[in-house]
């Protein structure tokens, strides 16, 4: 039986004391314990930023790569070793800004990867610039007059691309966060969770603002109804709605067809082409 302590990492945590990231980390461990996943069955993948440091604070396999590039790495790991539980932990700057192109195309690909975006609508590590999800008018260090552009609506993007699982959670609603995490990890295909994670150092809005303005989706919400899910992402904010917006388990998972065709269960599985196989292909050139 796997226990929380199995995930204990000796690496000293660099996050600010009291940061909701701690909650996300601990909830993730709880979710994995509940799913019975052992450290060696999990591979965390991240880019750069505060959220991207999470893999260091949890004992398991991990790849902490370049800024914005977690998703392509995770996609390939999930294809190469389909038995691994591949989870990306990233921030909204990493995922929607620097890696925006990969976010869009990963939605299209539908790899068996779970994506947790710690969304604090601020660039915290570089000291308080706007991020792709900063609300219009919010003042940030490079936008002293307030951010002029509207924020990205990543949930809507995910829904219109038929992602397998689209949800938003709130780091301070731990019970819902855990439920969503468990369901996201269990879901086959690309599961995406945007986690509202207020920055206690740089965001001018206090935690109480979030406690007041983040609300769960109505219990009658039907996540299999794409149109209604999309509508829910388009409502004026605040309030910021949380919950499972959309689910579609019908799409083929990225790479499935290759494994069906070859009979392989991973990309490290023998047999590899022999001399005769290669000579056979060369015959085409005579």
């Amino acid at each position: 039986m796997v226990e929380i302590s199995d995930f204990y990492s000796e690496t000293a945590i660099q996050w600010c004391p009291g940061c909701p990231n701690h909650v996300i980390l601990n909830t993730l461990k709880e979710a994995l314990v509940e799913l019975g996943k052992e450290p060696h069955e999990i591979c965390l993948v991240s880019g750069i930023g505060q959220a991207a440091k999470l893999p260091h604070y949890m004992k398991c396999n991990f790849f902490n790569g370049l800024h914005g590039r977690a998703l392509p790495v995770a996609t390939a790991i999930a294809v190469a070793q389909p038995n691994l539980t591949v989870i990306v932990t990233t921030g909204e700057g990493d995922c929607y800004g620097e890696g925006g192109n990969h976010f869009v195309h990963t939605l299209r690909r539908n790899p068996n990867v779970t994506l947790f975006v710690h969304n604090n609508s601020i660039y915290a590590l570089t000291k308080g610039q706007a991020s792709p999800t900063t609300p219009t008018g919010e003042k940030r260090s490079l936008n002293p007059g307030g951010v002029a552009q509207p924020p990205l609506n990543p949930l809507a993007m995910a829904i219109i691309h038929n992602a397998a699982f689209v949800a938003r959670a709130f780091a301070l609603d731990r019970e819902q966060l855990k439920t969503i995490m468990i369901e996201a990890i269990q879901c086959k295909g690309f599961s995406y969770v945007d986690i509202i994670q207020p920055c206690i150092t740089w965001d001018p809005r206090p935690l109480d603002w979030f406690r007041k303005n983040v609300k769960r989706l109505d219990s009658s919400h039907d996540p299999t109804d794409m149109k209604k899910a999309l509508d829910a992402t388009m409502l004026p904010t605040p309030p910021i709605l949380t919950g499972i917006f959309f689910k579609d388990g019908t799409r083929p998972v990225f790479g499935e067809d290759f494994f069906l065709e070859t009979g392989f269960s991973s990309l490290t599985e023998p047999p590899f082409p022999s001399t005769e196989d290669v000579m056979g292909i060369l015959e085409k050139f005579r």
């Binding site: 060696h40 902490n64 001399t275």
Partner: protein
């Protein structure tokens, strides 16, 4: 026999069909066939050429002087007329009395329109005329046409054969006493194994990767590298390589790194612009010590440059690409045979030293078809046990506790992959400790880690192969030095100049970084000889590298950067023009 045929015309007009049928037929007669193409960056139109060199012995080097020129339209005649040898023949669709060239008049457009009521038949009429000029056996041509149109309706195949016969007969009359070639059948129809395969660099690279046990390739399409992933995707059933068209080159290389981290041999391929986008991830591969193979198919830059032309202008870029300092190897195969074997070597080196390996080709090597009678597939050995994918991956049972970045005397830390066992495998782009965790400990961790990674260079350099020597006799007065795809042209130039009585020899490098240890240096760069580095770039990049790494007195540059492949004649002309 050594005859060079040049077919010229607009893209989409039939150059490919004519060239492909003719090459196939010539190879089936038992001759060595080498062909290269130059084309404009557009889908239709423009003026392009397809040069086919047919010879008794293998001549895998380009010629730009045509013995026979076949322009498929008037504009092509005007553009390529200067390529024709003084004694060469021009197969003319229309007569031109103002030109004192020897014309073989075959009105293929008119015949196609009038007899076949379809201009498309002009191609097969033209190929028939060409076949007749070269003195080929019609039966062999017929088989080649059947092969080219395989899958088409029977009456279409039959009509095309008839049209080719028309062209053949028409040309035969004009050929009397002028056409001296005779393409005698050297092998019988029942001996297909004696027909030498003709293969371009790109599919040879793809096959080399297959032989190496590559299981994953991601790439973004970019000329001239696209042919590699295309081959693997279209032959997925046989090659069993998972291929993915990435959204950009950044995703492509990050995917390859991800797959390699997960234990699968993986690669990507691109050209200069795409490689520029990959550079950050190249540095990542150096830092996380994940092996990755990147094919860099060069074309002239800077920026978009000449997208469909050839060059060797990215050497110093490849050697230095990436921020920070980390070991890498740069290889540059000379031809498809070498490309096949270099890919196996690239994967083996990448695995052994856990670092990126860059394989440099160019448009010329990527697209030109070489005659390779024996690929020596059985000679290509994947390091370690024969049935393991990435054979340099360690066995988990060797360790009671596992540290991915364990400090070792060689600098190489035993590699496992995630999911292989209960041992945890990590990678961090930050400077990290032996377990792969982020560190700020400068003296205690960062310095030893940097030294560990760079220690790998020592053993790597020791196994880098010295250059190939050609006519490096005691008498040598001038040494031509080349690298990559110019081998054929340089060696042919040496042969020509030797015949002229010039004491020339050549050194050809295919393993460029780190440069091999050359002992004694005198055996490679004799002090009394002039050292001339021949390259297809404007600044002499390999010469710069040689000067930096070896105490060589003086080095001369012989540079070509017009976007066309360098030929033996170019080198010879340059040699005499200079002296």
């Amino acid at each position: 026999m050594d005859v060079n045929v040049v077919i010229a015309g607009a893209a989409g007009e039939g150059i490919q069909t004519v060239g492909s049928i003719f090459s196939k037929a010539a190879a089936r007669c038992g001759f060595a066939v080498f062909s290269w193409q130059e084309y404009e960056s557009r889908i239709r139109g423009g003026l392009n050429s397809y040069s086919i060199r047919v010879s008794t012995s293998v001549r895998n080097a380009p010629r730009r002087d045509a013995d026979v020129l076949l322009p498929l339209r008037k504009e092509a005649r005007a553009k390529y007329r200067s390529w024709l040898n003084p004694r060469g023949l021009l197969i003319a669709d229309e007569r031109d009395d103002t030109d004192d060239v020897t014309e073989i008049f075959v009105p293929f457009s008119k015949l196609a329109r009038e007899k076949w009521q379809n201009p498309i038949y002009s191609n097969t009429i033209a190929v028939g005329a060409l076949w007749s000029v070269i003195g080929g056996d019609f039966e062999v041509l017929q088989l080649a046409i059947e092969d080219e149109f395989k899958g088409k309706a029977e009456n279409i195949i039959k009509s095309n054969i008839e049209a080719a016969r028309d062209g053949c007969l028409f040309a035969e009359q004009s050929c009397q006493g002028i056409c001296s070639w005779k393409l005698e059948k050297r092998i019988e129809a029942g001996q297909p194994h004696r027909v030498a395969p003709t293969i371009a660099g790109n599919p040879a690279i793809a096959l080399g990767a297959v032989k190496a046990g590559c299981r994953f390739m991601a790439a973004y399409p970019m000329t001239p590298a696209t042919g590699i992933i295309t081959f693997l995707a279209q032959h997925r059933k046989e090659c069993k390589v998972f291929t993915e068209q990435a959204e950009d080159e950044i995703a492509a290389i990050n995917m390859a790194i991800g797959a390699q981290f997960a234990g699968a041999r993986a690669m990507t391929a691109t050209s200069g612009g795409g490689f520029s986008l990959m550079v950050e991830a190249l540095s990542l591969a150096g830092m996380v010590e994940v092996p990755v193979v990147v094919v860099l198919a060069q074309r002239p830059g800077p920026a978009t440059g000449l997208p469909t032309r050839t060059a060797q202008g990215d050497l110093l870029f490849a050697v230095h690409a990436g921020h920070g300092e980390f070991p890498r190897a740069v290889l540059a195969p000379s031809d498809p045979y070498d490309a096949f074997h270099k890919m196996v070597r690239a994967f083996n080196l990448a695995d052994k030293y856990q670092m990126p390996v860059i394989v440099m080709t160019d448009q010329f090597l990527a697209d030109s078809r070489f005659s390779i009678s024996n690929f020596g597939v059985n000679l290509a050995k994947t390091a370690g046990q024969p049935h393991r994918v990435a054979p340099t991956i360690a066995s988990p049972t060797e360790f009671s506790t596992y540290k991915r970045y364990a400090l070792t005397p060689s600098g190489i830390s035993p590699r496992l992959y995630p999911g292989q066992s209960k041992h945890l495998v990590t990678a961090d782009s930050d400077e990290h400790d032996e377990e792969g965790h982020i560190t700020e400990d400068l003296e205690g961790v960062a310095v030893p880690m940097m030294e560990k990674r760079l220690r790998k260079l020592k053993a790597l350099r020791e196994e880098i192969k010295p250059p190939e020597k050609f006519f490096m006799e005691d008498d040598v007065e001038e040494v031509f030095v080349g690298w990559g795809s110019t081998r054929g042209a340089i060696f042919e130039a040496v042969e020509m100049l030797r015949k002229d009585g010039k004491r020339v020899g050549a050194l050809h490098f295919t393993e460029l970084w780190p440069l091999p240890e050359l002992c004694p240096l005198e055996d490679f760069f004799p002090q009394k000889a002039t050292i001339t580095v021949i390259e297809q770039n404007a600044t002499g990049q390999f010469a710069t590298l040689l000067k930096r790494e070896f105490p060589i007195g003086s080095i001369k540059n012989m540079l070509f950067y017009n976007g066309l492949p360098v030929t033996a004649q170019d080198i010879r002309r340059s040699f005499y023009g200079r002296n």
